[in-house]
């Protein structure tokens, strides 16, 4: 970006500074630490100058918003057109109480919904299954069947809001329910917008809500993508997630690298199914974390956008620019929150939101300050939503596009993270691809090593975390925490008994039989899942059909 003469001049100036003012200052008082690193452990130099980005080519590496390689953003106007979607992940107890929370959030100016499902639903069990004991309604809403789903979206017009569903192995079942309800509301499928997570690989890597073996679960993933491509064109049929990879201890670079590795695996699988890359790739979406180190996060997002664009263009020969866009949702970092002095979390979330805005995300969930302690209270959720509204409306981060471009440090870090991603992708390719790397535990072990390093840094005091290993204080136990009524489990169990007894048994059985039969073939299962949920089959029953056909995944644990 700079011509040789300018660089020579800068080099000379820097040498002078090194030997003059800097050396003098260092001899009087040394710096606080011998090495400075980001939270990801990446070393940070004292000073960045044009010398650190001398390879940068503006047109090739940065370009313009909305054009390849999308480093500066995926839309030409970014937040000057409209802000990111403010989408708070929420759900607890039964469908009724969650529906109330949704309607409250929409009234407060939230622009999209994000459903947190209870663990039994995510793991494909009904609320009355023995493994569901104690878990019903705990960390998300209990949805067993289509009528629960109807209650969940009561008085919410599905053509007006977009909905994101954190649902993976059984993604097709919940999407089918959503689509069936849209039909009942008179909303045609081409008007329905939203996202289903559908990212089963990261469940195996780090999140733990898997059901079926990799090959079979990937088949369901691709079935859903293919079905949406044909029938629900505005639906993001997958949200390839780095969020949980980061939560489980990875660095920023690893988060991006392993997510892109997963993205490559899904793209490959869809192509193997016979889909043309440009027919589905525009609907691949992503989901990332945002930690408090603002500049590193911004660099991560920029590096990811640039790398993904190249992967799609060069590796998969995509032609449609939309296929090359890394469009993503962000959630602020759950693990960055502390149970100690919980109000400090508001500040962390604010910085993380700021990083997200500077990084160019398409939607954002801001965590509530009390989430290290419990599910968020209404008050905490409101503060979280207000936090992103303040960033959007007051901080100025949204006034210009990619405001940190050209910052020597950020550009250098962007390059560095891109190189790290490339390094990992090459290693994973050499192992035989993402699935093979997961099977060998490579990705899991890399993440765990980072998590271990971070823990050691905290315990040795090498890294300071406010309220954990410095600036600690005695506090009274927190009060006013949200408690989920334990009776939801019993109520749901009774309700399910009733539900199963009252449905049209013949219709129900026929639908499940048909689904079982189709699942054993290569035919896309989705149309049959829609029929099954309409015939009042429950989440657990449909997942059991597949357990019978596909078997269950036994994880390998790599420690």
């Amino acid at each position: 970006m700079f011509d040789e003469k300018v660089l020579q001049k800068i080099q000379a100036g820097k040498d002078n500074w090194d030997q003059g003012p800097l050396a003098k200052s260092l001899s009087k008082s040394p710096e606080a630490k011998p090495v400075f690193t980001t939270i990801s452990g990446t070393p940070v130099q004292r000073l960045y100058t044009p010398l650190d980005i001398k390879e940068l080519d503006y047109d090739i590496d940065l370009g313009y918003p909305g054009t390849f390689p999308f480093t500066r953003g995926v839309q030409p106007t970014m937040y000057r057109g409209r802000f990111w979607t403010m989408r708070q992940y929420a759900g607890f107890g039964d469908a009724r109480s969650t529906n109330e929370r949704y309607r409250y959030l929409l009234k407060q100016g939230q622009t999209g919904l994000s459903v947190a499902f209870q663990l039994p639903t995510q793991a494909g069990y009904d609320s009355d299954h023995p493994l569901s004991m104690g878990e019903v309604g705990k960390v998300g809403v209990a949805i067993d069947h289509i009528d629960d789903m109807k209650t969940l979206f009561d008085q919410i017009p599905l053509d007006k809001v977009t909905t994101s569903m954190t649902m993976n192995a059984p993604a097709g079942v919940l999407l089918a329910m959503y689509l069936a309800i849209a039909q009942e509301q008179g909303v045609s499928w081409d008007k329905v917008g939203g996202t289903v997570q559908n990212d089963v690989l990261k469940e195996i890597i780090c999140r733990g809500q898997y059901i079926y073996p990799p090959k079979q679960t990937m088949r369901l993933t691709v079935d859903l993508i293919e079905f949406c491509q044909k029938n629900v064109p505005k639906w993001n049929s997958i949200s390839i997630s780095g969020y949980h990879i980061r939560e489980s201890g990875s660095t920023a670079g690893q988060e991006m690298a392993f997510t892109i590795a997963d993205g490559i695996a899904y793209t490959q699988a869809c192509i193997e199914r016979g889909m043309a890359v440009d027919s589905f790739a525009p609907r691949l979406s992503f989901f990332f974390n945002a930690f408090t180190n603002v500049l590193e996060e911004v660099a991560k997002f920029r590096a990811g956008r640039r790398y993904w664009a190249k992967v799609m263009k060069e590796r998969f020969k995509a032609k449609d620019p939309r296929s090359m866009m890394l469009r993503y949702h962000v959630q602020t970092g759950g693990v960055t929150l502390t149970a100690q002095q919980p109000l400090n979390n508001i500040v962390r979330v604010a910085l993380q939101s700021y990083a997200t805005a500077l990084g160019g995300a398409q939607s954002l969930h801001t965590n509530s300050y009390d989430e290290a302690l419990c599910l968020p209270t209404q008050q905490a959720v409101t503060v979280a939503l207000r936090t992103q509204q303040i960033v959007a409306e007051e901080s100025g981060a949204t006034d210009t596009i990619d405001p940190l471009a050209g910052c020597y440090y950020v550009e250098n870090m962007t390059d560095r993270i891109e190189a790290e991603i490339d390094d990992y992708i090459k290693k994973i390719d050499a192992m035989g691809g993402t699935l093979a790397a997961i099977e060998q535990g490579y990705i899991q072990k890399e993440i765990q090593n980072s998590s271990y390093r971070f823990q050691k840094e905290i315990e040795s005091g090498e890294r300071i975390y406010v309220g954990i290993n410095r600036y600690t204080m005695e506090e009274p136990p927190p009060t006013g925490l949200l408690k989920v009524d334990m009776s939801v489990g019993e109520i749901k169990a009774a309700e399910l008994r009733n539900y199963r007894a009252q449905r049209d048994q013949a219709k129900w059985k026929a639908a499940l039989d048909k689904l079982r039969q189709v699942s054993a073939t290569n035919e896309n299962v989705m149309p049959y899942v829609v029929e099954a949920v309409k015939a009042k089959a429950t989440v657990g029953e449909i997942c059991d059909v597949w357990r019978g056909v596909f078997g269950e995944y036994r994880p390998k644990e790599f420690i």
């Binding site: 035989g432 060998q440 078997g551 994880p555 390998k556 644990e557």
Partner: protein, 324 residues
Amino acid sequence: MSIDYAAQILAGSHRAAARLISWLEDEDERAYGLMAGLYPHTGSAYVVGITGSPGAGKSTLTDKLARVIRKNGLKVGIIAVDPSSPFTGGALLGDRVRMNELTQDPDIFIRSMATRGFLGGMAKSTAEVVKVLDALGKDVIIIETVGVGQDEVDIIGIADTTCVVLVPGLGDAIQSMKAGIMEIADVFAVNKADKQGADQLCGEICARLEIDSHIKERDWTAPVNRTIAVEDIGIEELWLSIESHRKYLFDSGRFYTNRRERTSRETLRMIHAELFRVIREQLEKNGRLDAAVEELMNKKRDPYTLMREIVNEWLSISRHKETS
């Protein structure tokens, strides 16, 4: 109150067996009296060794195989060995993860063991633990070795049937040939047989077996089974192969000769270990070892003569005792 562990083990108590195993691992004196009592009740369990390189899917295969064996109405004991850290002495034992559901079957007993510095793919006391599970009434005992890929041939000293697990794509066949793993197989499992290269791997194994058969005549040729353990494919067939090896051992009389060899080897090993322990203890206690090492370091003595001297002393003591 003293607990009659031996009686409890013979009555099938998992808890008593588990405690005795801990004592064996710790080389706790309390173990040996109990083992003496249990010995007459051992010898009826059939021992299957599962070995192969890391990532070959040994645990998953063990899990699925155990289910098949249970379907045949037999009780199963599983010993899963993982390495101890040479630096900290601790160990991470992760094999249970893949066998979680077996845990609830009262006729299956799973024990994880750390190698505690012992080489050869097993822990020092693995052979003793087999006897405990045998006395506990398990019909088939599966030993899953560490799986570091090398030097894991000790398993044939304990197992009646050794199953070598290989997977395509890891250059396994060639590595295993180098490591001498091929020769120890009574049965092969080519796991992850849906992977690219499975045909090639099976071909390589068969070719190798073919060559071997020309060099050394054998009356048993290890069958090559294709399995996809995660999908529960090929496991019944694997069990049939193990069964037919077992039948071969019985029909040919090899079962008896193998067991006889094993008993002889184990007895010698025990004598060796005990003698060594006693002599070492004595030499350490009376300071003679230190003094000898000092002399050796100064080259005043040589270890060859010294060794004979010490051994002869011990021998004359015992001879003296015999004649007096």
